[in-house]
């Protein structure tokens, strides 16, 4: 098991290698990437910021919980911070397990806990030059402009 907050490109192939073990019948790799739109606005990039000391500790806790809950130590997670452009990888989670169903469940657990608990924030940059912090708790307004 290994977790890291990094400020450079995430090597997903290396994460897959780390999660490999001869007794594993499956490795699930989740990759989060920067998309070019959000809530109808065109996005050119994202600045990721974090509370470093706590984020490292919390990410390790999440993976330790997953390791215990799903009985595998083959969990490798990296979350990138800093400025990322569209298409770049912000997060990678590799989970190896004897069974694919459990590997999927463990991967899902890790990403959902990251979304709930990891003290990381993102500020989107839009094509019109403006920037805004993303608030996932904000109520999305969907519908025609009036």
């Amino acid at each position: 098991m290994r977790t890291a907050i990094v400020d450079d490109v995430i090597d997903t192939a290396a994460l897959l290698d780390e999660a490999q073990r001869d007794s594993n019948g499956a490795i699930v790799l989740f990759v989060g990437t920067v998309r070019d739109n959000n809530s109808g606005r065109l996005v050119t990039g994202i600045d990721y910021a974090c509370y470093g000391a706590m984020a490292a500790r919390e990410l390790a806790s999440i993976c330790a919980e997953a390791a215990e809950r799903f009985a595998t130590v083959d969990i490798v997670v990296e979350h990138r911070i800093g400025h990322l452009t569209v298409g770049e990888t912000s997060l990678a989670i590799a989970v190896g397990h004897a069974r694919r169903a459990t590997a999927y469940e463990a991967s899902r657990y890790v990403i959902e806990q990251i979304k709930r608990r990891l003290p990381i924030w993102k500020r989107e940059e839009y094509t019109d030059g403006t920037r805004e912090w993303v608030d996932p708790t904000a109520v999305a307004v969907v519908g025609p402009e009036s």
Partner: protein, 80 residues
């Protein structure tokens, strides 16, 4: 006693700073720090009960603080 409040992302922007030191009476709680922050210019933008971590661990509003504690006021997280 003295504690340090840390602010991040949108909260740091509206308060125009990333950390604030407060001198508080013994027995002060997380809630007291939040109230002090919310009383500052721009602080009303923060919710009355934001997520808070004390010394890198999430903490409830009624947790009693010690001198030197680091009280992080956590905006809605958006990792991934």
């Amino acid at each position: 006693m003295t504690v340090t409040a840390l602010l991040f992302a949108s909260y740091a922007d509206v308060l125009q700073r990333e950390s604030i030191e407060f001198t508080l009476p013994h027995g002060a709680t997380v809630s007291d720090v939040v109230s002090r922050v919310r009383a500052l210019p721009g602080g009303a933008m923060l919710p009355p009960t934001p997520l808070v971590a004390v010394n890198h661990e999430y903490a409830r509003a009624d947790v009693v603080l010690s001198s030197g504690d680091e009280v992080a006021i956590i905006p809605p997280v958006a990792g991934g």
